[in-house]
Amino acid sequence: MTTPDVGFLLLAVVAAFFANELWRVLGAVLSARLNEDGAVFAWVRMVATALVAGLVAKLVLSPSGGFALAPLWLRLGSAAAGIAAYAVGRRSLALGVATAEIALIAGMVALGA
């Protein structure tokens, strides 16, 4: 992978700051008037949720960095272990994340990394 240009990266981060902050500013300005139960609102939340979930799938199935050194079955298996622990452990984020991490690191150690 080629190293990206620093000026380009800085510009991308600043542009992303504005793209991200837009919704916070709108929320602060509209907070008194917006209908939180409206249909448009619900749709927008679901689009954003699907987008972030899609990102998760991409990161696990086709990672572009060092995460790709872990074989696919281990990436999927450790995530599944985390989800199972989260579900069993009364939706505890810490438990789910810790379980996935332990499974992933143990798997890599077993593979001789």
Binding site: M1, A15, S31, A39, A50, G54, V56, V60, V97, L104
Partner: protein
């Protein structure tokens, strides 16, 4: 010397105690999981060839792990400024309802628009979740300083974690640095589920997971946008049909 007039000003003294209580609350379990996930993000930016200060700056400025990850992912797959900003803005739509739902809890009668904008800037999944959970038990005047203390503590810890993850990525044994890189996706997936409202958003999670790899084979540069729009719309329609059926019965 006469010190009484300055001692009578109540606001700064009254606000500093809840501020520091909030800052201490940043070191709770959700805060630590968040720091761990920013360590993973830092390690990932090292992998993508970002300088360490750009990675830390993105945490201070953008202050939303999903947006930062969308940005890094989009740039790594060759997107330009416009396409990556568009993907970021779509991922950030979730912030609007979060801001709208927390501000009425934080503000008092005297809260200015400036203070509301400042509080809104700090709204991100963990700060929002912990803020909503802890502030209602406080007096109204203490809520805003508590939240600002909490959020600043989270930003500070996350920025340090980002830099630490970036620095550690090249030094750690391979198993551990791969472990750091794997932290972010699982944290995201579980916190999405944790914050999901009702059937529609849970469906949106499942559809996003399934659709993204399929759509990536068709349009690799805008795959996340299309995954969001198609998956979100299907989830919305199913959710609506389910509601209608429930209310008809």
């Amino acid at each position: 010397m006469d010190l009484t007039p300055s001692q009578e000003a109540p606001t700064p003294v009254g606000a500093s105690r809840p501020f520091w209580q909030g800052a201490r609350a940043a070191l709770s379990t959700p805060g630590l999981v968040l720091f761990g996930s920013f360590t993973g993000f830092g390690a990932m930016t090292h992998d993508f060839g970002w300088p360490i200060w750009i990675a830390a700056l993105s945490t201070i400025l953008i202050w939303a792990a999903p947006a930062q990850l969308v940005l890094a992912g989009a740039l790594a797959s060759g997107a330009g400024i416009a396409a990556s900003s568009l993907a970021v803005t779509i991922s950030a739509v979730r912030l609007l309802p979060m801001v709208v739902s927390i501000l009425p809890v934080l503000r008092s009668d005297r809260t200015s628009l400036g203070a509301r904008l400042l509080a809104a800037h700090y709204v991100a999944v963990t700060a929002w979740f912990e803020g909503l959970r802890r502030t209602p038990a406080l007096e109204r005047e203490s809520r805003m300083p508590f939240f600002l203390g909490l959020a600043n503590g989270l930003v500070l810890g996350s920025t340090i974690a980002t830099a630490a993850g970036h620095a550690a990525a090249g030094l750690l044994p391979a198993a551990l640095s791969i472990g750091l890189l794997g932290l972010t996706p699982i944290y995201f997936l579980l916190s999405l589920e944790r914050g999901a409202w009702g059937l529609g958003e849970r469906l949106a999670i499942g559809l996003g997971l399934v659709l993204a790899p399929l759509i990536a084979t068709v349009t690799p540069r805008f795959d996340l946008l299309w995954t969001g729009i198609i998956g979100g719309t299907i989830a919305f329609l199913i959710d609506k049909a389910a509601r209608r059926r429930r209310s008809a019965q």
